[in-house]
């Protein structure tokens, strides 16, 4: 078990390092990192023509004439110490801004995950147990619609019907508990639908296994068969999918935060993209990749906790 | 000598951090004459199937030698091996899984003929496929089916027909009946036996079942944990086994209570 944890941890660190190289590489092959663009976007204004002196100064300040690997090394060395460099636009440390914005995103994501699991898992189980019933069909059709609905469109549908129509929840911003409702529902819908579908099919798969027949032959109540024998097995694939879905949710938060003017990382990222604030973009993407890697690590570990075939090897 | 195996070894390394070596096949020696059947018997996991794959160079041995009609096969390039592939064939354990799931039976049977250009025209191919089908006791209605539309016994017949198409000199039968019912097993075994005699094919017959081996083999080799513990004539192995493991294996034959033997046999 310890060996497994160690191996997964090492792999996670490797992936994060590689991801940081990739992020840095992609963003620094862009016109956004030329001194002229930085000057135009962050210092003198888009219409101005920068002078040679200004260009020299910016190049020197951000050491832009160094070869890329040197710049990367400098960046990652600082990043390990918690310093992601300074934002071009805001002129403050990137890490500082991320620290300010992160709680809003974390809150939104955590609540959405909780909401989606709370609805999706019981619903998936019920649909599987009551297979081909009216309830099952209804559940599957709604899940299908929820999966196919683009989150930004769903957001507007919700705004039109709840905020404008009934004036129940605030349309934008992060001020109060009600303001959480619409963004949460928007984010949770897609993830919940996917989770529900996986839960259902995994449950159906498990219910057709031989050991379920064994359990029934013991004379267990059907509820006992489901709760003691089927559920745990059916959860295994769901755990993996929830990890993947979390990634989708991180991506989706960019959109949802944009629609609802939610002051989180996603909004910060998209604003920085348009402001050509490369250090900021870099920091946000690295943070997202790290969070995702961490979630996947947790998923793998909990998988191992649930499955003795991974926890213990085979006895030779 | 048709097949000569000397000091054949196959090692596998296991583990990622502290590697250890497992000897799946450990210094195995045997030979098979033309038209002869050597039975290879042992428990599941003793390395029998590895021997089968080593003989046909489907996997490379760690060391040792395999000779086919005096020609050394180990270390030969895949291209050079093609010349021998036609002469050495294999019948697998899982009949349905040894056929291409998306090829009709007719296509599966025609493939070896096309591969080695054994037929000159489509018409000749058709005739030959029918002939093969007939030899293994299947009828034309089976030609247009897919493997999953056949029973295990029927699929195994197709696999045998496909091997026969090449007119091989040597066949490895790797547990060809262990997934089949006892009654179907008798069909397949008598078919194999009949064809082997008709075409004078040398055979390595692999099985965990001593009774089956007894029914088809001329000589028997007993394998235990990668090693051959005893080799001898059928009579010697069954009547006077020397190695303790062979004795143990013979004791696992299910003896029918003698009181129940049919009158006409008693």
């Amino acid at each position: 078990m310890w060996r497994f944890i160690f191996k997964r941890l090492a792999a996670t660190i490797l992936v994060v390092v590689a991801a940081s190289i990739l992020t840095f590489g992609i963003l620094h092959l862009t016109p956004g990192t030329t001194p002229v663009t930085i000057l135009k976007y962050a210092f003198i204004g888009l219409e101005e023509i920068p002078t040679d002196a200004e260009i020299t100064e910016i190049t020197a300040r951000y050491k832009l004439s160094d070869p890329l690997y040197k710049q990367y090394y400098r960046w990652i060395k600082q990043a390990v110490q918690g310093n992601l460099g300074d934002s071009y636009v805001y002129r403050v440390p990137v890490a500082e801004l991320i620290r300010l914005r992160f709680p809003a995103t974390a809150l939104l994501a955590a609540l959405s995950v909780a909401l989606s699991l709370l609805i999706a898992i019981p619903l998936g189980i019920l649909c599987a147990v009551k297979r081909n019933s009216f309830f099952d069909h209804l559940g599957r059709i709604s899940a299908l619609f929820a999966v196919s609905m683009p989150s930004f469109w769903l957001a507007y549908l919700l705004i039109i019907s709840f905020s404008l129509g009934f004036d129940l929840f605030p349309v934008a911003g992060f001020r109060s508990v009600p303001s959480l409702v619409l963004p949460c529902v928007t984010l949770a819908a897609g993830m919940g639908a996917v989770t529900m579908r996986i839960m259902r099919s995994s449950m159906l798969d498990v219910m057709s296994q031989d050991y379920i027949l064994t359990a029934r032959a013991k004379g267990l109540y059907e509820t006992g068969v489901v709760s003691k024998h089927a559920l745990k097995n059916a959860f295994l694939p769901v755990v993996t999918v929830v990890g993947l879905q979390f990634g989708h949710m991180l991506g989706g938060s960019v959109i949802v935060e944009t629609v609802f003017a939610w002051p989180g990382i996603g909004k910060l990222l998209i604003d920085s993209i348009f402001a050509k604030d490369i250090p900021m973009v870099q920091g946000c993407i690295l943070l997202i990749a790290m969070t995702y890697a961490l979630v996947n690590l947790l998923v793998d570990l909990s998988y191992a906790l649930m499955d003795p075939r991974i926890r213990y090897g085979r006895e030779s | 000598m048709l097949i000569e195996v000397k000091d054949l070894v196959k090692e596998y390394s296991v583990g990622i951090f502290n590697k250890s070596v497992v000897k799946a096949v450990d210094e195995v020696n045997f030979c098979v004459q033309q038209g002869e059947t050597l039975g290879l018997v042992g428990e599941s996991g003793c390395g029998k199937s590895t021997v089968a794959r080593l003989l046909l160079m489907l996997i490379q041995p760690t060391s040792g030698s395999v000779r086919f009609e005096g020609q050394e096969l180990t270390g030969m390039s895949q291209a050079a091996l093609l010349k021998f592939r036609r002469e050495m064939q294999i019948v697998f354990q899982q009949p349905q899984q040894s056929l291409h799931p998306r090829m009709k039976i007719a296509e599966s049977l025609a493939e070896p003929l096309q591969l080695y250009k054994l037929v000159k025209s489509k018409a000749e191919e058709k005739v030959r496929v029918r002939q093969l089908l007939d030899e293994v006791g299947l009828s034309e209605e089976h030609l247009e089916r897919y493997p999953h539309e056949l029973s295990g016994g029927q699929a195994q017949r197709v696999a045998i027909a496909r091997v026969l198409a090449l007119k091989p000199k040597f066949i490895v039968a790797d547990e060809p009946t262990s997934m089949l019912d006892v009654s179907v097993q008798a069909q397949i075994l008598s078919l194999i036996k009949k064809l082997q005699q008709e075409h004078t094919i040398g055979m390595l017959f692999i099985s965990h079942d001593l009774e089956v081996v007894q029914a088809v083999s001329d000589r028997v080799a007993v394998m235990y944990q990668g090693k051959l513990v005893e080799t001898g004539s059928k009579q010697q192995i069954f009547m006077e086994p020397r190695h303790s493991y062979t004795k143990y294996l013979t004791s696992t034959i299910l003896e029918m209570p003698t009181s129940l033997i049919r009158d006409d046999l008693a």
Partner: protein, 291 residues
């Protein structure tokens, strides 16, 4: 358990039974076909020029003349949706074709060759999968500058990984299977085995994946356009159209509603097609097995 009972099929009634049994497959395929037809015939069926600006008819509600109303620049929303169908499908087709072919080939090589090549390809896949796909696509679009072309390149670079992983896993299983071993023993060359024995058996899951992938790509593309990173004005694209209607949801919800509806129907149709194809290809469900 010997509860598997072979059921004799009557091939004559095959088509009728096919339609009856796989209703979902037939219906979703029909909708997909209609969507593709709309994309192909877009210029012929558009009631108006999708780029024709009319300052006198801004954000008009649906009417006989404009069945879906007009947008903030007075352009016909229906015509723009039809034009958008073409944009989305053409882009998705390009992305799936390139990333699918590339991913399948890399997966085949990776699974069949093994060793260093395999490790290199799979580590690259791991790193690309370290990002939520839309975030990686965003980074790539930022690097190349906003626009439909960038989005197509970015999504292609992101989406091949799925195919590569799928095909590699399938190849690894198939490589061990007895029928491939039999083919090798028969004297088939590596290339022949790869293309005749392995490829046909990975095609089905790849087709399923491609269908689901189109849905995913249409969504990602619309999302990027919605954020302003994809299609640029005056190009008609669903995500961008929804974005343009943002400020008018109170007064003119139709500007956002209709393109969203088109988006959802497209995604739904391709997802359903993928799902029912998966069921169709699954031999356990196709044969007369007793569940």
């Amino acid at each position: 358990m010997d509860t598997t009972i072979a059921v004799d099929k009557s091939y004559k009634k095959g088509v009728v039974r096919f339609v009856k049994q796989d209703k979902l497959l037939v219906y979703s395929a029909a909708v997909v076909l209609i969507i593709i037809l709309i994309a192909l015939m877009a210029p012929l069926i558009m009631p108006h020029d999708p780029t024709a600006v009319s300052l006198t008819e801004k954000v008009n509600p649906p009417s006989f003349q404009y069945p879906c109303g007009t947008d903030p620049l007075g352009r016909c929303v229906l015509s723009r949706i039809i034009q958008g169908t073409r944009t989305s499908l053409v882009a998705a087709a390009i992305i799936v074709a390139i990333s699918g072919t590339g991913g399948v080939l890399l997966g085949l090589i990776s699974g069949y060759k093994g060793g260093l090549v395999d490790s290199l390809i799979m580590r690259l896949v791991d790193v690309l999968l370290a990002f939520p796909s839309i975030i990686l696509a965003m980074a790539l679009v930022v690097s190349m500058g906003p626009g439909l072309g960038s989005v197509i390149i970015a999504l292609t670079l992101v989406h091949w990984t799925g195919y590569a992983r799928l095909v590699r896993a399938e190849v690894l299983t198939l490589k061990q299977s007895e029928f491939v071993e039999a083919a090798r023993a028969m004297g088939n060359s590596s290339v022949r085995i790869l293309f005749k024995y392995i490829l046909p058996n990975v095609i089905a899951p790849v087709i399923v994946m491609a269908s689901l992938d189109i849905a995913q790509i249409v969504l990602s593309m619309a999302s990027l356009s919605f954020l302003g990173l994809g299609a640029q004005p005056p190009d008609a694209e669903w995500g961008a159209m929804i974005n343009q209607g943002r400020e008018f949801i109170r007064t003119a919800p139709h500007v956002t509603l209709f393109p969203g509806l088109a988006l959802m129907v497209t995604i739904l149709a391709f997802s359903l097609l993928g799902d029912s194809l998966r069921d169709y290809f699954d031999p356990r469900l196709r044969e007369g097995y007793i569940e």
